[in-house]
Structure formats: structure tokens, C-alpha cells
């Protein structure tokens, strides 16, 4: 598909054959306008978010990013707690989800017997289809108490010398619960992209390695992983973007602590997305532009993350296309 196909290009070229048929012009015009609309939409999103956050931008400037605390009475707002919360929760989720996702992808491409391959793939994709608000509901009512009563005390008593695993939470909500919930949400994303990458590894390379007498694991480590490395990085970046942008499920389970940064994972925290979801309907005065400012941070971050990931994905796809020839 990556080669230049002359006939394919010719049948799609605008106005090939007789020029200027009114119907052709209308269809191309309308369809082109729709495509342009999609581009304009991106610009409009950026414009509206910047416009909404302008009062906060002029009041707080870049100091907003490093200020701790969210005091609406004295108009002293800062994003540091939320940025910290987003960083900890999403990196934590990535740390848990990546090895699991690699394992799932390996299972689905190299190990699973044919008869369960299709159904397990479908099940993992179904996990991605569960709405975040339902995962959040499950997180508050089912997962939270289990983590509070069993997992957190166990982690505290075995790894308590690390400050991350401090005193267990009393409510079952907190940064740790958010990490687990986010792990569940990004796991299917990373594993489905990784699975496709692993499927793209040329069979000859794998057979050559196996023919030299390697075990299956040595073949995977020596052939599959190096071949898919860039793509796996892109999948992780996309998962990170998704985790940082998730608002509802995190809002439900993170415990909404706005005024302090704690290294204890079992304490409450907050993220920019969750803060907007929890606060926006009650906000007034300078708090509204401040919440827009949080959205602006999210927007800038997600634009950066997605562009980088897409560029990597495209480069990997092109390389695999060349290798397949």
C-alpha cells in the first residue's frame, strides 16, 4: 500500500477526464468544506480555550503552573497540585499497564491457541468499551474498599520503608485507587496497538531465529521486541495521553485533595481533568478562567503527546511497509 500506484492516483485525481462538471464541483466543494471544517475545528478549540483562560493567564501568568493551592476566596489559584497528581497517577498507571499489555500482546500473537485467540482479543477490546463513569462507579464502591482493607495494608507493611507506601487511606479513595482505575482504562489501548505491531513482525525473521535454535522467549527478546520498539513507545505515549486526560473516573476515586502534595500514594490528590469535572458547575468569578487555564494545560499536553505518537506510528508503519516488500 505504501508504493506509489499510478492508476490509483489517477482515479482519485480531482477533475480527471472532462473538467468542470457542476456536480463534481459541488461534491468536491462540499466534501472539501467538511474536511476544512475539521481543521478549523481544531483551531477553534484552541482559540476558545485560550480565550476562556485569558483572565487567569493575565492574573497568574506562568506562576500558575508552580503555585500550590486552590483558594477561590482569596483568588489564589495554582495548578502544581494537579500537575503533580496527573504525573503520578498516569506514570503509575503506565508502569503497571505496560508490562501487562506486552504480556497480553505476546499471548495473543505468539502463544494463544487459535481457538481462544479471537475471543480473548474481543474481550480485551470490550474492556476498552466500558464507559469511564461505570469504571469509576466500580472503583468507588467495589475496588476502593478492597484496596483499603487488603492491598494498601499489605503494601504498607512490606514496602512501608518507601515513602510512597505510607499510611493506608481511610476511605478507599486516593492516588493509588486512581492509578489502578487508570491502569484498567489504558491497558486495552496499549495492548491492542502493541498486538498489531507484533503481528507486523515478518515471519521470516522469527522463523530464522527459531531455526537457529533459540527458545520462543529468546526469539521474542531478540527479534520481536527490537522490531516493535518504536511502536511500543508510541503506544505508551498514547496511553499516557489518555490517562492524563481522563476526568470522570479519576474524579470519582481520587479523593479530591487540592491544597497539598503528598508522596504517600494512599493519600488523596487531584488532576487537572478531574478538578474541572468536579468544580466547573459550581465555579464563579476568577475560578472559571482558572479552570479554562487547566484545560489549556491539558490541551497543550495532549496536542504534543498525540503529534509525537502519530509521527512515530507513521514512521513505524512506513518502515514495516518497506520491510514487507
Amino acid at each position: 500500500m505504501s508504493t506509489y500506484d499510478a492508476t490509483r492516483e489517477a482515479t482519485r485525481r480531482p477533475f480527471s477526464g472532462r473538467r468542470g462538471r457542476p456536480g463534481d464541483i459541488v461534491l468536491q466543494g462540499v466534501a472539501g468544506a467538511a474536511a476544512l471544517g475539521a481543521l478549523v475545528l481544531l483551531g477553534l478549540i484552541a482559540y476558545k480555550v485560550v480565550q476562556g483562560s485569558r483572565p487567569a493567564l493575565s492574573t497568574f501568568g506562568l506562576g500558575f503552573l508552580t503555585h500550590i493551592g486552590w483558594d477561590t476566596v482569596h483568588n489564589s489559584m495554582g495548578a502544581a497540585v494537579f500537575i503533580f497528581g496527573a504525573a503520578v497517577t498516569s506514570f503509575g498507571a503506565l508502569l503497571l499497564a505496560t508490562p501487562l499489555a506486552l504480556g497480553i500482546a505476546l499471548f495473543l500473537t505468539e502463544l494463544a491457541p487459535r481457538w481462544i485467540r479471537g475471543s480473548v482479543t474481543a474481550l480485551v477490546e470490550t474492556l476498552a468499551a466500558i464507559p469511564s463513569v461505570v469504571i469509576g462507579l466500580w472503583g468507588i464502591i467495589v475496588l476502593g474498599p478492597v484496596l483499603r482493607d487488603h492491598v494498601e495494608p499489605a503494601l504498607h507493611s512490606t514496602l512501608g520503608f518507601i515513602p510512597l507506601f505510607g499510611t493506608p487511606s481511610s476511605a478507599g479513595t486516593g492516588i493509588f485507587t486512581a492509578i489502578v482505575v487508570l491502569t484498567i482504562m489504558i491497558l486495552p489501548i496499549i495492548s491492542s496497538i502493541t498486538r498489531e505491531l507484533f503481528l507486523g513482525v515478518p515471519g521470516e525473521l522469527k522463523e530464522a531465529a527459531l531455526g537457529l535454535g533459540t527458545t520462543r522467549w529468546e526469539m521474542i527478546r531478540g527479534v520481536v521486541f527490537p522490531y516493535a520498539r518504536g511502536g511500543v513507545a508510541a503506544a505508551m505515549i498514547l496511553g499516557l495521553g489518555r490517562a492524563i486526560g481522563e476526568a470522570i473516573a479519576v474524579a470519582q476515586v481520587i479523593g479530591a485533595v487540592d491544597n497539598q502534595i503528598s508522596w504517600n500514594l494512599f493519600d488523596g490528590g487531584n488532576t487537572p481533568a478531574a478538578k474541572i469535572a468536579l468544580e466547573f458547575t459550581n465555579a464563579s468569578g476568577l475560578e472559571v478562567p482558572s479552570l479554562f487555564y487547566l484545560a489549556l494545560i491539558l490541551l497543550v499536553f495532549s496536542l504534543g503527546v498525540n503529534t509525537v505518537a502519530q509521527v512515530i506510528v507513521r514512521r513505524v508503519a512506513r518502515r514495516q511497509g518497506l520491510a514487507a516488500q
Binding site: 490509483r8 482519485r12 480531482p14 462538471r21 456536480g23 463534481d24 461534491l27 468536491q28 466534501a31 467538511a34 474536511a35 471544517g37 475539521a38 481543521l39 475545528l41 481544531l42 477553534l44 476558545k48 480555550v49 501487562l100 504480556g103 497480553i104 499471548f107 495473543l108 502463544l111 494463544a112 480473548v120 474481550l123 480485551v124 477490546e125 470490550t126 474492556l127 468499551a129 466500558i130 464507559p131 463513569v133 461505570v134 469509576g136 462507579l137 464502591i141 467495589v142 484498567i184 527458545t215 486526560g245 481522563e246 476526568a247 470522570i248 481533568a273 474541572i276 469535572a277 466547573f280 458547575t281 479552570l291 479554562f292 484545560a295 491539558l298 490541551l299 498525540n306 503529534t307 502519530q310
Partner: protein, 301 residues
Amino acid sequence: MSAVGVTTLRRPNDRLLRRRAANRSMELLAWLAAAIAVGILGVVVWSVARRGGSELSWNLLTKPQNQAAAYLPNIQEGLANAFAGSLVIVGLATLLAVPVGILVAIYVNEFAPRAVRNGVGLALDVLNGIPAIVIGIFVYGLLVVGRGPSGFAGSFALAVLMLPLVARSTIEVLALVPDSLREASLGLGVPRWRTTLGIVLPQTIGGVLTGTVLAVARVAGETAPLLLCSSIVGTAIGWNPHHALFSVPLAIFELSESPSPADHARAWAAALVLLLFILVASLSARWLATRSRRKITRAGR
């Protein structure tokens, strides 16, 4: 001879055993990872089914919320206002996003030069990656400021989320339509626009439908934009999108934040209905996808 043979043979054997052990344990870990993912899905679905199933009733679907219920426990109370609102908001969003998505796909696949094609593709992917809450705050700034929340604003936000999904899946099926069909039609003197709309597009109906159903399943559970654009405290069943409308995901979100077990029970029931809808939609989309793909490839022969 025999002594030498034993030592030279045994040493590689030990190493082979170690390599095999590493291989076995890694394979086991991969099996375990898959089992964990399937297990999580099972636990979540089972929790929702068990806790929501007992609460599911005809009243839940047909009776609206009732604020008096907190004081008069015999009043029958449901979430009909949420279901009605979701129906209107998601329906309108679909009507908005699908035609535009198809047009974008037609432009990208049938008209655009290569560079533009890649550019629009990248824009769609980036749009798809913007967090839903940011889309929500964008639509708040665009449509809600000065006018108040409305079902329309919620629909528009969901349509923005659906657009890249519909366009992407349509681009994919359009690319599957064999060029022989386009060439045959153009060769008979059929104008380009009729070739596109009358010959190429009908081949893709199955694929477009699949993409649409998946997009609907994705946004039906979307909470964040509706929280900002169409949240409401009222409890009457409303169908008019000029006013703010309640919705199922919002109901789950708000009921889950409540301390009352009765509210939790209704949240689980609403979650069960939503989940059933989404699972049925994704399964039928999967079935449609395999069917339509087979049909398109057959048409080329």
C-alpha cells in the same frame, strides 16, 4: 572417551534447561497477563450485572426522578428523564457527526492530493486524542456562555468526539473499495460525483454503519462534556434539546457521589442498562464489520 563425552554433553544440557525454564516462566507470565485482563473485565461486568440486575425494573425506565422520594419512601422513582435525555442528545449528535464524517472521508479518499490526505488524517487523529473534558470546556465557551446549558450544546460536544471516529472508519472502508469499480463507472462516462455517491459509497454502507455504531457506543457513556454543557437539576422528562437535558452517564456520576445506598443501587441499575446497550452495540458492529468486509472484497472480482 565416555568420561569426556559425559562432561561435554552435560554442560550444554544444563544451559538448555535454564533457557527452557526462562522460556516457560515468560510464557506463563504472558498467559497470566491475559488472564488478568479477562478477569478484570469479568469482575467489572459481574459487579454491574449483580448489583444492577436486582434494581432493574419497569419503573426505572418509565418513571422520572422524584425529589419527594427521599421523604416518602413509597413513591416510585426511576431515571426516565435520564434515558430520554440520553436518547435525544446521542441521537442529535449522530445526525450531526455522521454526514460530516462521511463527507470528510470522501474528500480525503476520493479528491484530496496525497499531502492534504495525510494532513487531514493527522488532524483527525489529533482531534481524537483531545480529552473529552477539554472538548466539553470548548463547547461551553462556544455555545453555553450567555445562552445557558442545552441538549444541543451536549450533542455538539458529543458530535465533535464522534467525528474523527466516523471519518476514520469511513476512510478505511473507502480505501477497500476496488478501483476497478471506479474505473468501470468513469469509463462508461458516469460523472465523478455520481460514481462516488452512486457506485463507491453504497459499497461502504456496512463499514460506515459499523463505524457509526462504534462511535455511538463510545459517546453514549461519555460524561465529562455533558457535565459542562447539559447538566440540570430538574427531574421532569424532557425531549426539547433547547433546554438542558439530563443523561444516563450524568445520572451514574451524580448518584455514585451520593452517600445513600439507595442512590448507589440506582446508579448500578443505570450502569447495567448503559453497559448492555454498549455491549450489544459493539458486538453487532463487530458482526457487521466482518460481513461488510467480505461483501466489498467480493464486489471487486
